[in-house]
Structure formats: structure tokens, C-alpha cells
Amino acid sequence: MAKVLVVTSGKGGVGKTTTTAAMGAALAQAGEKVVVVDFDVGLRNLDLVMGAERRVVFDLINVVHGVAKLPQALIRDKRLENLWLLPASQTKDKDALTEDGVGRIIAELRKTFDWVVCDSPAGIERGAMLAMRYADEAIIVTNPEVSSVRDSDRIIGMLDSKTVRAENGERVEKHILITRYDAGRAARGEMLSIDDVLEILATPLLGIVPESQDVLRASNVGCPVTLNSPASAPARAYHDAMRRLLGEEVEMQIPSERKGLMNLLLGRRAA
């Protein structure tokens, strides 16, 4: 049973692409056959984070326009044989996608893969709408700050009204993933608390990914964080989120400031 999962958010810069790569890799590590699709046409990034930017020949737009066949555009990951990438186009603009074309590609991908993970562009424009259009499930990536939470609320509203499932009277399964969570700042009240976020969004929580240098490092070397440093806190958080997505009961780990003292010492030493 193929599932189409869209990773979306209203606001940019919250970690959609990182999450897509990390979740895609985590699902593939769990034995699922996964394709990650970059819908951010015009600003392709997922191939960079996946470390496949030098292997892109054909892209999503080429397939939509019939220039290339789908298998020609799919790039197989070098590290995980269950993981594939369908990159976005850097040269075409975001209006090059059509609803029919996207529908055809999603239908074709459903036949081959267990999970089709769509990396949505930010905002509420057509690109974002098309990315969520055929979704069965959605991960709404949110930072614990008011602007991000409000935009996520808007996106949840759209998932409930503008998707094919919603129009057929079904529901898109929605999950909140809180990223860039800084336990220290949350404790000082500089961030919204988890409870506040969940109270506002009234949607189940999939996981909390702590703010970490590991994410940045992984992204810069072109490797999903779940592969690059599997022992790191964000990688563990993504793995837990993946298991919850597959229906397992996993206890929610709220990142705490346990390393606070260590950081403090290191911080002092550096200063």
C-alpha cells in the first residue's frame, strides 16, 4: 500500500528539506521502498541535502512535460538501495508544474514505491498546493515560534480543504513535527513551549527535533542526518518520528537541557 507523504509548512526555513531527507532515509533504513520528490521547482535543494546534485540529468519538470521517462529521472541513493530521489528543476520556474502532470507522476510512483515523500516549497502558492494535492499523510514542520505556528495553522486548514482526499470527504492524516527546538531557550521562555504549539495547532505530535549543529553539518556534506550521524540527538528524534509514522508506539522524548553544564563549561572555555 503506497503512501504519499507531504512534508510541508507555511513558513520557509523551518527544516522541510532536512526533514524530507531524514525521514526518507529513516524509512528506507527501516526497509521501506522510498522515493523523495522535490517539489520546490526553481529552488532545488533536496538533491544537495541528499548528496545527489552531481547526478541530476532529468528532473520532475522533464517528466511532467514528457521529455523524459520517470525511470530516467529517478536517482538511486548510493548509500541506501531502497531510497530514490526525483529532483526538481533549477532552470524552470514554479509555474511549470500542472495538476494533471503531478497526478500522473504520483500515480506512477505509487505503483513502485511504499512511500512517496514530497518536499513542499514554502508558502501557499501553487507549488505548495500541488505538493500536498495528492497526499495521504502530511508532516507539518513547525518551529516553536509564533509566526511559524500561525502559518502551520493555515497550512493545516488547506490540507483539510484543498487536497484530493479532503474533496472526496476523506482526511489527510496530519502530524506535527517540531524542529529546531532549543530546550534552553524554551526553558527561559524565549520560545513557545511544546504545549503551546500543540494547543494552538490541535494536531497530534510526531516528534521534536532539537536544534543541533549535526543537522547543519549533515546538510553541508550532502547526507541525511539520520545517515550521517545516526547517534546524534536529531537523528534519534527523526528515527522515533519514523517509527511513529509506521504506527509504532514510541515514547516522546522532549529534548532537555541535560548537556547544559557541559555546554556552559565549553562556552566559558571558548570565551
Binding site: 495553522d153 493555515r154 493545516i156 494552538i200
Partner: protein, 229 residues
């Protein structure tokens, strides 16, 4: 030639037309039946005006004299007898209404009294939170939300607004000039509340009320927001 002699006769045109006629079936004793008829006529004197009737005599056995008498009695009550039915031609005398045959029953359609139009629903129930960017407009009545109204969302209602969650967005009640409309919420963190055009923004709402259950109503030309319970 005799062509000129041929007279052109105007055609007599026959057209069929059917009428619904009421049929009286007198029963013996005739005197009682007539008094019954009188009682009916007293109830609606104008009912038979302009409506000739047919007299069905099959249920009674009357002599020609009695028939004449009966017809006279009926006509004296201002009811015209159009014809007779259910009696042999031999019993009829000159001057009586003609004998009719071949009458068929017709179902008199009962006109059902028009049912009053189903009352338009005057309330809208939303069992999901109202998300940022959504706008619910319901000018016909009350809006009830079983959840939160996010900031950036708005609810516009002709009647009152009830929010069984946090009201963080905008609520505009009584938009059609209903100054009796009210706004109720479990937790007031609204960006704006308005009733019949009078409004308060978040800044004007008493800070002591924030996060509490509250109701807003109009008192004359000013809006009052008071805690619930």
C-alpha cells in the same frame, strides 16, 4: 350551371367540454334530508351559487309528483337542478330537467393545505477548529465552534458566536444589525470582537480578561466584555 345556386352553409361547430357537477343523492325521508341540506347551506350559504347540481334518484323511489316537489324544494333554496339521474324516463313529466346518463365518478382533488416552508437552519455548527486564514461567514444565524478559532481566522455571523475553545482570531457577531447578538468563548485571546459594527481590538480588551471565559455584548453604543461565571 348550378354552381351559383349552391348555398354555402355555415358550419356548426361542435366542441366537447366536460364539467364537474355535484350530485345530490336524496334519501328517505326526504323531509329530514332537506333539513340536513338546510343545515349545510346555513354553514356556507354561497357554496352552490352558480353551481348547478345533478339529482341522483337511484336511492329513492318517488312518484312524478314527489319528484316535482323535490325539485321545487331544492330550487327554492336557490340551487339549480341541471338534470336527473337514476330514474326511468316514464316517471318524468314535461318541464322537468332532462335525464342524464353516462356520468362518471371523478375524484375531487383535495387540495392539501400548503405546508409551511421548513424553517431555515439558523445555526451553523463547526466541529473542527477554525484555522488561520479561514473565514466563516454565516449571515443567517448563530455560529458554534467546538474548538479554537486561530489567530488569523475570522467568523462572521448574523447572530451570536459561541466558541468552545480559545478565540484567538476575529469574531464579528450580529452583522446584519442584530445588536442583541453576543459572543461567548472559553478563552478570550481575540484579535478583534465586534457586534453590530461596534468593535474592540485586542489592545482594548481588558488584559485581566485574557485567557478567561468571557462574553461580549452591546450595551447601548458600547461593547461590554465580562467574564463568564
Amino acid at each position: 350551371m348550378s354552381a351559383g345556386a349552391e348555398t354555402v352553409r355555415p358550419l356548426i361547430r361542435l366542441r366537447g367540454r366536460s364539467y364537474v357537477a355535484f350530485v345530490f343523492s336524496p334519501v328517505v325521508p326526504i323531509a329530514d334530508w332537506l333539513s340536513e341540506l338546510d343545515a349545510t347551506l346555513a354553514g356556507s350559504p354561497g357554496f352552490f351559487v352558480g353551481k348547478p347540481i345533478v339529482l341522483d334518484l337511484s336511492a329513492v323511489d318517488l312518484s312524478p309528483l314527489a319528484i316535482t316537489h323535490l325539485i321545487k324544494s331544492i330550487e327554492s333554496r336557490n340551487i339549480r337542478v341541471l338534470g336527473l339521474e337514476g330514474v326511468e324516463q316514464a316517471r318524468l313529466s314535461l318541464g322537468m330537467p332532462p335525464l342524464l346518463s353516462g356520468g362518471r365518478h371523478c375524484a375531487v382533488q383535495e387540495i392539501e393545505p400548503e405546508k409551511p416552508q421548513l424553517q431555515q437552519p439558523t445555526s451553523l455548527l463547526l466541529d473542527q477548529p477554525v484555522r488561520s486564514g479561514q473565514s466563516i461567514v454565516f449571515p443567517d444565524g448563530d455560529v458554534t465552534v467546538l474548538g479554537a478559532v486561530s489567530s488569523g481566522a475570522e467568523i462572521v455571523a448574523g447572530g451570536s458566536i459561541h466558541v468552545y475553545g480559545a478565540l484567538r482570531g476575529r469574531a464579528m457577531a450580529g452583522v446584519n444589525g442584530n445588536s442583541a447578538a453576543r459572543i461567548y468563548c472559553q478563552k478570550i485571546e481575540a484579535e478583534l470582537v465586534a457586534i453590530d459594527g461596534y468593535y474592540q481590538t485586542a489592545e482594548q480588551i481588558d488584559a485581566a480578561l485574557r485567557g478567561r471565559a468571557a462574553q461580549a455584548r452591546l450595551e447601548g453604543h458600547s461593547m461590554k466584555i465580562v467574564p463568564l461565571n
